[in-house]
């Protein structure tokens, strides 16, 4: 069943036509990845879904609800959470306060506590650092916090923008293991990555974005073997 659907989305920055008619679907329980070169429009796509940007044309649907007419903070309440590029944790708030902000829209105390336990189970490091100010965490810990904070909203779909950016290989593996684990627990994920190899390995399906248009789409395994994708995104071979 389709959970998220982008229908012919056009997004602009002033006069810059960043997304030129993009259509994407993400089914319930899937990992879908969006790959592409720098400046292709990957982050713009996620921002358009989460309401930070309004498309000039086209609509975003979550099930049958139209997201596009809502403000970013309302879209969170509807079950879409966006972990932005560069993590963007609240540096002067503690780890615990950051997690609380993740649950900002929620009132169910019991559910929040449950999700907190789950986040600490997923990232034991965060539990150790809970009263530390987030700005003093390492890059990897900040990525864990950014993901943990997002999970605190109890989302129906998780939008991840380059979670592996700037991380050491061990931590990249850890983040991708977590993505897999979350998906096995039933989380739907739309994953934006520069690291196409890893992304296509973890995903069910993928889209290749080139300067604001979808150039290729299909099964992740097939994309990984596509000669064109291999040439451009997987460094030849």
């Amino acid at each position: 069943m389709t959970l998220l659907k982008l229908d012919n989305i056009h997004t602009y920055y002033g006069n810059i036509h960043a997304l030129k008619g993009i259509s994407i679907t993400v089914d319930e329980g899937e990992i879908v990845t969006l790959i592409g070169a720098n400046g292709a429009g990957k982050s713009t796509t996620l921002k358009t879904i989460s309401g930070l940007l309004y498309p000039r044309q086209g609509k975003v649907y979550l099930n049958d609800e139209v997201l596009t007419k809502h403000a970013a903070h309302e879209i969170v309440k509807m079950g879409v959470i966006h972990v932005p590029e560069g993590r963007r944790v609240f540096a002067r708030l503690t780890v615990m306060e950051n997690l609380e902000m993740g649950a900002f829209t929620r009132k169910d105390k019991g559910g929040i506590q449950q999700d907190l336990d789950r986040v600490f189970e997923l990232f034991p490091r965060l539990k150790e650092r809970r009263s530390q100010v987030a700005g003093t965490l390492s890059g990897g810990e900040q990525q864990m916090l950014a993901m943990g904070r997002a999970l605190m909203s109890n989302p129906r779909i998780l939008l991840l923008d380059e979670p592996s950016m700037g991380l050491a290989p061990v931590l990249v593996d850890l983040i991708f293991d977590t993505i897999r684990e979350l998906n096995e627990q039933g989380m739907t994920i739309l994953l934006v990555e520069q690291n196409a190899l890893l992304a296509l390995d973890v995903a069910n399906r993928g889209y290749v974005l080139e300067t604001g248009v979808i150039a290729l789409a299909g099964d992740a395994k097939e994309l990984a073997n596509d000669p064109q994708v291999k040439e451009v995104y997987l460094g030849g071979a």
Partner: protein, 355 residues
């Protein structure tokens, strides 16, 4: 050695430091002369200090409004002095009615609470309307634009108050229960009752504010928005609502400050907010603008310096009628802080932020 020093500091720097050291020397010399002349005895200094604390508490409450708004929008709300005036001036008419009916004499605590409630309500209203009409439409504009708008709004409000409430200076009703020295626990304390009340009420407000910002969900959201509006919106925080909350919080502090000011100085007029407003702004800068404990300390510090300064420093320097120069002290201090430590006393934390 000298050349290396010269290379690292240009001439302006050195001139500034000379001015700074000159002023510091004058302060030390003036205080020394005054103290060794024995012109004032210890109880006078105590009185000055207590008055300074009381007046500083009022500055601190107003300063919080500047600092909270700056922390979130990086803008100086220069109309905040008028947020302060609106509350206390409106409450004046209620105070007159309460006095005429004899209510103040019979139930002074209740009267005070009523006046504070009225002043807070009006100040909050002015602050929130100001945000909605004058500042929100300019959210994306260059930083100079809302600043100029704020100055315009400040004048607009001053003349609006004059138009509605009249231009004269009005005398606030007296609270007979607060006259004289504080009598408590069977003895008389070397502090006026009204000063004690002002200090205690201001302290309670500040404790409440600190608790609100640090511990409540709304306060944490405020700090989150101050750091990163986009990330806050992605967490489901309604950024506009948090901004309105911030203005309201600053307004409520200003409302209480207004009543405390009226208790201390007993008068109101349409332009009364201007000087305390600028003083409080100085206090906020002194403490490191955007920093909540900094604004509190800055306010108290400024109040005390202003109260002690004229007799302690200026008198010793042989300056005639030193009390006339009270305001000059505050603004000299402002200039000095801006030159030597623009991030303020508590400013280390501010410098972490790239904003």
């Amino acid at each position: 050695m000298f050349h290396r020093f010269m290379r690292r500091h240009d001439t302006t720097d050195i001139v500034m430091w000379l001015i700074g050291f000159g002023l510091l020397a004058a302060v030390i010399y003036g205080s020394f002369v005054t103290l060794s002349s024995g012109k004032y005895d210890a109880s006078v200094w105590l009185d000055f200090t207590i008055f300074g604390l009381a007046q500083g508490s009022v500055y601190a409450l107003i300063a919080l409004g500047y600092t909270l708004v700056y922390g979130i929008l990086f803008m100086i709300n220069f109309a905040h002095g008028e947020v302060f005036t609106g509350g206390v001036f409106t409450a004046y008419f209620v105070a007159i009615a309460l006095e005429n009916s004899g209510f103040i004499e019979r139930h002074w605590v209740l009267s005070l609470l009523i006046l504070m409630a009225v002043a807070m309500t009006v100040s909050v209203l002015v602050a929130v309307v100001l945000e909605r009409i004058a500042y929100r439409p300019l959210r994306g504009a260059p930083r100079l634009v809302p600043l100029i708008t704020a100055i315009g709004a400040s004048f607009f409000l001053q003349y609006t108050y004059r138009g509605i409430y009249g231009s004269g200076i009005k005398t606030y009703p007296d609270f007979p229960a607060l006259d004289g020295k504080l009598n408590m626990f069977g003895r008389e304390w070397p502090i006026l009752t009204v000063q004690a009340l002002v200090i205690v009420v201001a302290a309670l407000m500040m404790i409440f504010l600190y608790w609100y910002v640090q511990k409540t969900k709304a306060g944490k959201a405020m700090r989150a928005v101050a750091e990163d509006k986009e990330a806050a919106a992605l967490m489901g925080i309604d950024v506009d609502r948090v901004i309105v909350n911030t203005f309201a919080l600053g307004g409520s502090m200003a409302g209480v400050a207004g009543i405390l000011y009226a208790l201390l100085f007993k008068q109101v007029n349409a332009f009364m907010g201007f000087i305390p407003g600028i003083k409080a702004f100085t206090a906020a800068v002194l403490g490191g603008i955007g920093n909540v404990p900094g604004a509190m300390l800055g306010g108290l510090f400024l109040g005390i310096v202003e109260s002690l300064g004229p007799s302690l420093i200026l008198d010793g320097l042989g300056i005639p009628s030193p009390y006339q120069l009270k305001d000059a002290i505050a603004f000299t201090l402002l200039v000095l802080v801006l030159i030597f430590r623009p991030s303020g006393i508590m400013g280390e934390r501010l410098s972490e932020k790239k904003a």
